[in-house]
């Protein structure tokens, strides 16, 4: 019964989404306020219906109702409760349902919090948002219904892929989707603004909080995926330039560029054409990511769907929305040409450089990800583009960006002073030089460039600290004045600085683990010991153990440093019962200097095992950096000036005086 309720709510949501698409936009066209208001009601109704549908599916999972085909294929009664719940989105149908649920959540949030939006803009935004819902709900209802029943009802389900049975991965999809799908708001705002023809700094002010929120969640979502790959796949790496990773990384890059260009648009009424285009492209990349991941064209754990009809459907949605928005953009772009003047060396100039480098890097990732697909479609030749390609293209583009980051916030709008800024950054430069020399002195053998690269991270961190210090007149004013100034700095200034510090911390982590990782693959018998990363590891042997839905063989290592025993590590090999599949669980000892990472390999004769031992220096800073970036976003979001709908702003005059340029 509950499955039918869910199915019915899903179809009803499709109907409501149709209403949400048509009526408000028609109302906005005719200037009919009551029609426009339908948009808000419909957006909330649509969200509630989808929530109902989603909970219906979750109930089926929690109660292990195997008469629902989706539950039968992806769940098992012996699975722990957390994975019964995360199983809802651990499959194609359920994850698409989560996708539209989050889409509708954002629509209803705009309806709820966007009270100060001009009614016609709001109506158009909700209309566009509704049309995306229509497309994806049609997709679900026609090709991917999660509520299909089966007869006869099987006694037991076939279980969830064991490598997905992991806490970090349970929350990775909701976070990732909140980011991915959150960019739909920026897209809807862009299209709505193009329809109404009114694009002014207020537009950027409305869009920024949504974009920032989406960006924060995407940052965390990607970080969780990377963290999971690090400890669950047992390869000791944290990023593989896998096409599926790239699919989520491209919208992140475009979204990061959008965040920065929207600042220019809000403060200086410039870069409008570019910002609108970025808003469209960012969500288009999200759609492309959904296509790549969901259509099964890629080899990955995410490729649930093998049905080509589904791939074609999502491709059609992507082409329709991206193509439609770009066509509208092309038709309307001439009304956008206006904006403040600025010198090349200025805050605007710095933000343009940021956008230029980030979008170019994004394009490089795009080429590397899609080239193999395109080549195979055209010539039939199969190639793979791996990390060497991305290291040779993406990394060189990031170097000037990292050098430039500390300059940006120091430069004044319109006309900046690069010499003065360099003087203000002298302390940061000194500190960086010191860090580079220390890295040369302390680090063992490694690539000679590595300490310099490490210095880039330190430079970004110290640049952000200097900026806050400069604004507070640290060392130049009496302490009480400094404290007063620190208290009065806008939160957005702190947000920017903290997010940049996060980038720096992440860079230090990336460089540390990439340059100085040590790896040993050895055969060990019980009682034997190995040295790695300054630790001594004594292998104690392997013992079998029974888990809730798996059997495992647990290895045991005694870790000691300078003769004192620190801890025991227990890497294991698990054999799940449903579906019957093996996984590897790494045993990790974390310290500030780096992770000791152990993996149990093949069982040889006489109790001997192959084991893989890694020492990953500073690796934790990668994820700590992303959390700092998230916090920076959060602090920025809490700034009063950015609060959604908080400031009431005088409506911009209809016809702008258009300066040439």
């Amino acid at each position: 019964m509950i499955a039918e309720v869910g199915h019915f709510a899903l179809i009803l949501a499709l109907g409501v989404a149709l209403v949400q698409t048509i009526l408000p936009m028609w109302g906005a066209r005719r200037g009919d306020l009551s029609l426009m208001r339908v948009g808000s009601t419909a957006a909330q109704a649509q969200f509630l219906l989808l929530l109902m549908s989603f909970f219906a599916l979750m109930t089926a999972y929690v109660t292990s109702d195997f008469s629902v085909q989706n539950v039968m294929q992806n769940s098992h009664s012996a699975k722990p409760m957390l994975y019964k719940i995360s199983g809802v989105w651990g499959n194609h149908e359920g994850s698409m349902l989560l996708w539209v649920l989050i889409l509708a959540l954002f629509g209803s949030a705009v309806a709820l919090f966007g009270r100060n939006l001009p009614p016609d803009l709001k109506a158009n935004v909700l209309g566009v948002q509704g049309s995306i819902s229509v497309a994806f709900l049609l997709f679900i209802v026609t090709t991917s219904n999660p509520f299909t029943r089966i007869h006869p009802v099987p006694f037991e389900g076939s279980g969830l892929n064991p490598i997905l049975q992991d806490p970090a991965l349970s929350f990775h999809p909701p976070f990732l989707y909140t980011g991915y799908v959150g960019f739909s708001i920026a897209f809807s705002f862009a299209v709505a603004a193009l329809i109404s023809g009114r694009i002014d700094p207020a537009w950027a002010r409305w869009v920024r909080p949504w974009t920032l929120g989406a960006w924060m969640f995407l940052t965390l979502g990607i970080a969780m995926g990377s963290w999971w790959a690090y400890y669950e796949l047992g390869w000791g790496g944290w990023w593989f330039w896998d096409p599926v990773e790239n699919a989520s990384f491209m919208p992140w890059l475009a979204g990061t560029a959008l965040l920065h260009s929207a600042i220019v648009m809000e403060k200086r009424d410039a870069l409008k054409v570019w910002t609108i285009l970025l808003a469209i492209l960012t969500f288009s990349l999200s759609l492309m990511g959904t296509f790549l991941v969901r259509s099964g064209v890629l080899t990955s754990v995410h490729a649930f769907a093998v049905d080509p009809a589904r791939g074609v459907f999502i491709l059609a949605i992507m082409v329709l929305f991206t193509g439609g928005a770009l066509a509208l953009f092309a038709g309307r772009a001439q009304i956008l040409r206006q904006g403040g003047l600025f010198a090349p060396v200025s805050r605007e100039g710095a933000l343009i450089l940021n956008n230029l480098l980030i979008t170019t890097a994004c394009a490089a990732v795009f080429v590397g990800t899609l080239y193999p697909l395109a080549l195979e479609a055209v010539t039939g030749e199969k190639i793979s583009v791996g990390p060497p390609f991305f290291n040779a293209t993406f990394v060189p583009l990031m170097v000037p960006l990292l050098i430039a980051i500390p300059y940006g916030p120091f430069l004044a709008w319109k006309r900046g002073d690069i010499l003065g800024t360099s003087q203000r950054l002298a302390m940061a430069a000194l500190f960086t030089a010191f860090a580079i020399i220390a890295a040369y002195a302390l680090s063992g053998p490694g690539p000679w460039l590595a300490p310099l690269a490490l210095g880039l991270g330190v430079w970004v961190i110290m640049g952000a600290v200097s900026e806050i210090g400069f604004r507070a007149k640290a060392f130049r004013a009496p302490p009480d004045e400094v404290f007063r100034r620190l208290r009065n700095l806008p939160r957005s200034a702190y947000g920017t600085a903290i997010a940049h510090i996060g980038v720096g911390v992440m860079v230090v982590g990336i460089v540390g683990t990439t340059a100085w990782q040590t790896e040993k693959i050895v055969v060990m018998k019980p009682g034997e010991a190995e040295e790695i990363g300054g630790y001594n590891l004594k292998f104690e042997g392997v013992a079998p153990q029974q888990g809730p839905n798996y059997r495992e063989e647990i290895g045991s290592f005694i870790v000691s440093e300078d003769g004192t025993e620190l801890t025991h590590l227990h890497p294991s090999k698990r054999m799940y019962t449903a579906p019957p599949q093996a996984t590897t669980e790494a045993g990790i000892h974390a310290a500030w200097s780096g992770d000791l990472y152990t993996v149990l390999g093949d069982d040889l004769k006489d109790g001997a095992f192959t084991v893989r031992l890694y020492f990953n220096p500073l690796v934790r800073l990668i994820w700590i950096g992303t959390i700092i970036m998230f916090l920076g976003g959060l602090i920025s979001l809490s700034d009063r000036r950015l609060r959604v709908g908080a400031p009431k702003r005088a409506r911009a005059p209809k016809a702008h005086a258009v300066p040439a340029e």
Binding site: L160, K382, I383, G386, I521, D602
Partner: protein, 151 residues
């Protein structure tokens, strides 16, 4: 600085960055892409030793032999041709005789493929598309029905 000059600075910067990026991409594509071959392709196409390639097929039944330490030997087959492979390291969890496998590495002068990495599958039923395609060419693979339903 006149408006015209400002604009030329902007455009010159964009062109410079894009130019560098295009150069990097072309250079990297030339240098770092890896082609995929089945054992039959390798027999036919006369692949040069030392070139970085990927190979794929089924692990031949009874071919897995352990050498000293972590060294492993096995053979990859697409049923028509078979290619011997050596690998030093830990095999992925789902490495089994009779199952699909993809390996990346170089062909040695003696015709033995020296693998630097052996790729893990994510799922028991899952068949890497490259392997499925290679097997289909030999008429062994019956298509999606057999692979179907990853998960």
């Amino acid at each position: 600085m006149t408006r015209k000059q400002r604009r030329s600075v902007l455009i010159a910067t964009c062109v410079a960055v894009l130019g560098v990026a295009v150069g990097l991409v072309l250079f990297a594509l030339e240098d770092s892409i890896v082609f995929f071959y089945s054992p039959s392709d390798i027999a036919e196409k006369n692949i040069k030793p030392g070139q970085r390639i990927r190979i794929g097929g089924l692990v031949e039944e009874g071919s897995v032999k352990r050498g000293d330490g972590t060294q492993v030997q096995f053979a990859v087959t697409d049923t028509a041709k078979t290619l011997p492979v050596t690998y030093i390291g830990v095999l992925p969890d789902l490495f089994r005789e009779g199952q699909g496998v993809v390996a990346e590495g170089k062909l040695g002068g003696d015709g033995i493929f020296v693998a630097e990495s052996v790729l893990a599958k994510h799922d028991e039923n899952y068949m890497p598309p490259e392997v499925a395609e290679a097997l289909r060419k030999q008429g062994v693979w019956q298509g999606a029905g057999q692979a179907a339903k990853a998960n």
